[in-house]
Amino acid sequence: MKRALSLILALILMLSLASVVMAEKPINIGVVYKQTGNPFFEAGVRGFEEAKGELGFEFIHNGPADSSNEGQIQIIEGYIQQGVDAIAISANDAAGVVSVLQTAMDQGIKVVSWDSKVEPEGRNLNIDPSVAENIGRVQVEEIAKQIGGEGQIAILSAGATMDNQNTWIKYMQEELKKPEYAKIELVTIVYGDDLTDKSIQEMQGLINSYPELKGVISPTTVGIAAAAVAIKDNGLSGKIKLTGLGLPSEMAEYLKDGTCEGMYLWNPIDLGYTAAYAAVALVKGEITGAVGEKFAAGRMGEKEIMEAADGGTFTLVGDPFRFTPDNIDDWKDVY
């Protein structure tokens, strides 16, 4: 008996931290991102907050601790249970959440994917940060400019299984076939699994295996920061050029000390902001997510819905922004 009592007490103690904030009336959006504690998605949530100030909806946000598909399904099922009006998700596995999102849509919940898409059957609309083709090509242009148009380059990617990474890399390889890049040789593609230590090991492996290496493209925020660490530690800043997709707050140092002369990223705040506007428009019935529809996205202007290559529909946020040593100070405290 004493045992049971003490257990109950311990449990109540555990739960006494509870603070419940649940609104009933306004539109409620459930935001799902890939992983908790990732600054990119924290910035994305700031975009939702900004839109919330203008539109007056409610939103809750969560992501799994381990960037797993199953964790995202748990969160989505919880959102369905709470009766959210819309779900805005950046999916860890484009196909793995389709079934659960279909049951959500069967119950009238609108689904928007942002940053990383969900397959068309599981979404109403995809908010694409930028055209995949541009993202791929622009990084090749950048590295070609930095290494002076000839030499060996390598790609440090996140995972061999990531759809967006593979699409960008496909366009990079296509771009490299152009005659002006004939003297550039892509020696290898390595994968750091979006883990800092593994990415550093892979970058170190590149440095050890290819003494002639001139440049590295890393289209992942974890990868580019890890590559910068390895290049700098080897005293190769400026000798091995580096570009890719990087977070300004994390990369500011390396842009200033010459390890990285220029890199790209789209604005996660704009991404979250647009996704919020799209979700609200869907819930209010202003759009259905069909090709040709338009919706007003606050300061982002009017957005048009287009047909995506995967058979679904999407809208674009903008082109990736180029960060340089000159403009980095304006951005390093923003995201």
Binding site: S99, T161, N166
Partner: protein
């Protein structure tokens, strides 16, 4: 107080009652905080997420734990068998889905058998180490087969009806997969607790050497239990796949720890000889209620983990401590009576 507990009948003092009280407490706390969302019918829906696939894996893990062994590779086994099913159905030349399921179960059993063979042949190496390596191996093979692809497009009865369908029982919508799980439980219970072969597992787990000398073929039991565990992992993977609708090689990552946690919460001991199917079911109900409630209230993955960790430790620690106190007071009483004599 202690006299009162001593007078209670033996069946009331069992571990399971702690779980029942905890379950009631959890449900009371959360339903008072979230009266609209934390209802029985909505919770039944959540059993899909927290109960069925992990439950099957935990059932297999339970038998392994009763033997005093452990299997870290169950999640990888589930991933590999799900991969085999998805690929043989999608890319094979017209293999019917039923055959793909059979292949999946066979794969799971073979993975378990390999673990069992390694464990019995290399008894110096602990099952933990062996299954730690086979975990990487099995998932690695799934990676080789599937590469960066997701494989899905299963028949509708599988990904719609089984994955998300429900049947009406007593006016409640009960998920079909939960019905499947609850149907398996009694069979498992009878086999493990009421038949000779089940008792032999307990005997082998309580004292391996003694049961070997008394003529029990412990090696063969181990092989059988590990094979069964692999099979159950495949079944867990089967239900998980019906929910995700597609398979990627990363499927079920980390489920082995969840399965172990459930079995331990249900009263199994990692040192063997202890564990019950009823306790396991109660542990699953408790976890479902707690995880879902925390998800609703906090909406934070790390807080959820933190609470699960606390619960796991407290529920194992407190009986130990009270048991220790009782032992000490018994010793003191004995001393006192000796002094009097």
């Amino acid at each position: 107080m202690s006299r009162l507990t001593n007078r209670l009948p033996e069946w009331l003092k069992r571990w399971e009652w702690i779980l029942v009280i905890l379950i009631l407490a959890v449900f009371w706390v959360f339903s008072s905080q979230q009266p609209d969302n934390y209802t029985l019918s909505k919770l039944l829906n959540q059993t899909r997420v927290y109960m069925v696939d992990v439950g099957f894996m935990a059932l297999g893990m339970l038998t392994v734990l009763i033997l005093g062994d452990i299997d870290i590779s169950v999640a990888a086994t589930a991933a590999l068998s799900a991969t085999v099913m998805a690929v043989s159905y999608n890319q094979g030349s017209g293999i019917p889905f039923e055959a793909a399921i059979a292949l999946m179960l066979i794969t799971g059993a073979v993975c378990g058998l390999i673990n069992g063979l390694l464990v019995t042949r290399f008894s110096e190496l602990f099952p933990m180490i062996i299954t730690l390596s086979t975990q990487t191996l099995y998932r690695g093979i799934a990676y080789i087969i599937l590469k960066d692809q997701s494989s899905g497009r299963f028949p509708a009865w599988f990904s719609k009806d089984l994955g998300y369908g429900a049947m009406s029982i007593l006016g409640l919508d009960v998920p079909i997969m939960l019905v499947c799980f609850l149907a398996v439980l009694p069979a498992f219970y009878i086999w493990l607790h009421k038949t000779a072969s089940g008792r032999r597992i307990f005997a082998a787990g309580t004292n391996l050497t003694a049961s070997r000398y008394s003529g029990v073929r412990t090696g063969r039991i181990k092989l059988a239990v590990f094979t069964l565990n692999g099979l159950m992992a495949a079944v867990g993977g089967f239900f998980l796949t019906s929910r995700t609708g597609s398979v990627k090689y990363t499927i079920a990552t980390g489920f082995e720890m969840q399965a172990i946690a459930i079995a331990v919460l249900g009263g199994a001991s990692t040192s063997g000889g202890r564990g019950s199917v009823v306790g396991l079911l109660l542990a699953l109900v408790l976890m479902t209620g707690l995880k879902n409630g925390l998800m609703l209230v906090y909406n934070d993955a790390f807080i959820l983990n933190l609470s699960i960790g606390l619960l796991l430790i407290l529920i194992v620690l407190i009986p130990n401590l009270t048991g220790e106190l009782r032992r000490r007071s018994a010793v003191r009483r004995q001393r006192l009576s000796l002094q009097k004599a």
